[in-house]
């Protein structure tokens, strides 16, 4: 009897775990194309806690960046001297002709994205992300 109860409990726990996995929010994929030093989107809406996988394709013959963050992050990169840096969530370098993905989980704060290679942000390589 005890063994039967234990077995049912295990099955119940496993079923609950599977149920939770199925209900978890799916990762949203957002493709972005860079052409003539311009992102293919200038604004994105996400929901709090959402995880987004950005797949960024650079069709230009020059490198670009895709940096997600608040204004302080953008300023830090704009003033930085790192031409290429290791990929971090929401921060990637996309060399000429490459496609690079990065995954970022949003909180409840509106953010910005942009490229901070010399002159690129001022040229218009930037956009906004609204979290609501």
């Amino acid at each position: 009897m005890v063994r039967r109860v234990l077995a049912l409990s295990v099955v119940a726990v496993a079923a609950a775990a599977c149920s939770r996995a199925t209900a978890a929010p799916a990762v949203r994929t957002v493709p972005i194309r860079i052409h003539y030093s311009a992102f293919s989107l200038s604004h994105l809406d996400v929901v709090p806690g959402q995880t987004v996988r950005f797949v960024v394709t650079n069709t230009d013959p020059i490198a670009h960046e895709f940096i997600v963050g608040d204004e302080a992050v953008q300023v830090a990169h704009e003033l930085g001297t790192e031409a290429y840096h290791p990929p971090r969530p929401g921060e990637i370098t996309i060399r000429a002709g490459e496609t690079v993905a990065t995954t970022y989980t949003f909180g409840d704060q509106n953010l910005l994205f942009g490229c901070h290679l010399p002159g690129h942000y001022a040229y218009g390589m930037r956009g906004t992300i609204s979290v609501s």
Binding site: P61, G97, G119
Partner: protein
């Protein structure tokens, strides 16, 4: 060299060093290994009987970093040699007389689609590579070889590659520059010989990397057998001066006159310029004064007398309001019979706010 010409050359050389010259246009586009070194180049081109003679003076801008330019060309060059020493300066004198004390003031002198290297050479401290390829291929080659391209470069490279997939990449070798004792501002003239039936003068490249509201100022010299027609059509000096303050005219035809015998003689006496006819030439001087953001065209020249410069050669929409491009542009026999000579000198100043971006 005859004594008089030697004296002239020495005089020009001395004044080149001593006298502060009017700033020359920046003729190229890309720059150094990710740095933001300011680079200025002096550019000139010439055409004669279907052959373009393109002369550019690259100005050395520092002893440590490498820097250079990429110049779009209308065709495949047959040779790249060291240019003459005073051609640009002499043209400036002809149309912009200076006060006597400054009479000879002038400047010192792997991708799916790979760019194909069709010519490599060295001239003094310059490494020169002529490339054939689309805008993307040439841009990748430049990036992979240490050139830093500003963000508008991809679009501008395609703008030129759509008409001619030939580009010339030029870079100072810092080691050779040091060995040769180059100082900041020293110029090295380069003469490119390009057979072509479709000459045009690159103007849009002058604004590359500049803010949209930055002024681009340059001078374009044309020396032709007959009075040429250009596209875009320039304003007269009177019309330009009548514009409201702050409005830049774009192109102004400052001079249009028979070339003087003394000008032709002086130009012919310069190194590599003996191909130039000694008489019966027409000199035009066009001044470029535009916002970088408005300079989205090149200068098409019809020196055939037909008066039909090609919109395509100017980088304009062939369906636009400009005069239709005639088939005569592409008839070599016509060009040969007209004995076309176009001399172009690009001079002036490209004033840019260059913080955080390259200037050429």
């Amino acid at each position: 060299m005859r004594p008089l010409r030697l004296a002239f050359a020495i005089f020009v050389g001395i004044l080149t060093i001593v006298v502060a010259a009017p700033a020359w246009a920046c003729g190229g586009l890309v720059n150094s290994n990710g740095s933001v070194t300011l680079v200025r180049t002096t550019t000139m081109a010439a055409y004669h009987q279907g052959v373009e003679h393109y002369v550019t003076s690259f100005e050395f801008a520092g002893g440590k970093g490498e820097f250079g330019s990429i110049i779009p060309l209308p065709g495949v060059p047959t040779k790249v040699i060291r240019g003459g020493d005073w051609t640009l300066q002499r043209l400036v004198q002809e149309t912009q007389p200076q006060p006597e004390a400054f009479a000879l003031a002038a400047t010192g002198a792997a991708a799916a689609e790979d760019a194909k290297v069709i010519l490599k050479t060295e001239i003094d401290a310059l490494d020169i590579v002529v490339l054939e390829g689309g805008g993307t291929a040439v841009g990748r080659w430049a990036s992979e070889h240490g050139f830093f391209l500003p963000p508008d470069a991809p679009e501008v490279l395609d703008f030129y590659a759509d008409r001619s997939p030939i580009f010339m990449a030029v870079r100072f070798d810092a080691t050779r520059a040091a060995e040769q004792g180059l100082a900041d501002g020293d110029g090295t003239p380069v003469h490119v010989v390009i057979p072509t039936t479709n000459p045009w003068v690159p103007l849009r490249i002058l604004g590359l990397g500049a803010a949209a509201d930055a002024p681009v100022e340059a001078g374009v010299y044309l020396l032709t057998d007959v009075r040429p027609a250009t596209l875009p059509s320039p304003l007269s000096p009177g019309a330009a001066s009548a514009l409201p303050e702050g409005v830049r005219p774009g192109l102004v035809l400052e001079a249009s006159q028979p070339a003087s015998p003394s000008l032709l003689a002086d130009l012919r006496s310069d190194k590599g310029m003996s191909w130039l006819p000694s008489s019966n030439m027409w000199l035009s001087y066009l001044r470029v004064d535009a916002r970088a953001g408005d300079l989205d065209y090149d200068l098409a020249v019809d020196a055939s007398g037909a008066g039909r410069p090609a919109p395509v050669a100017a980088g304009l929409d062939p369906e636009g309001s400009a005069p239709a491009a005639g088939a005569s542009w592409f008839v070599p026999a016509l060009w040969a019979s007209l004995a076309l000579v176009v001399l172009l000198g690009v001079a002036g100043a490209l004033e840019r706010r260059r913080v955080g971006r390259p200037a050429i």
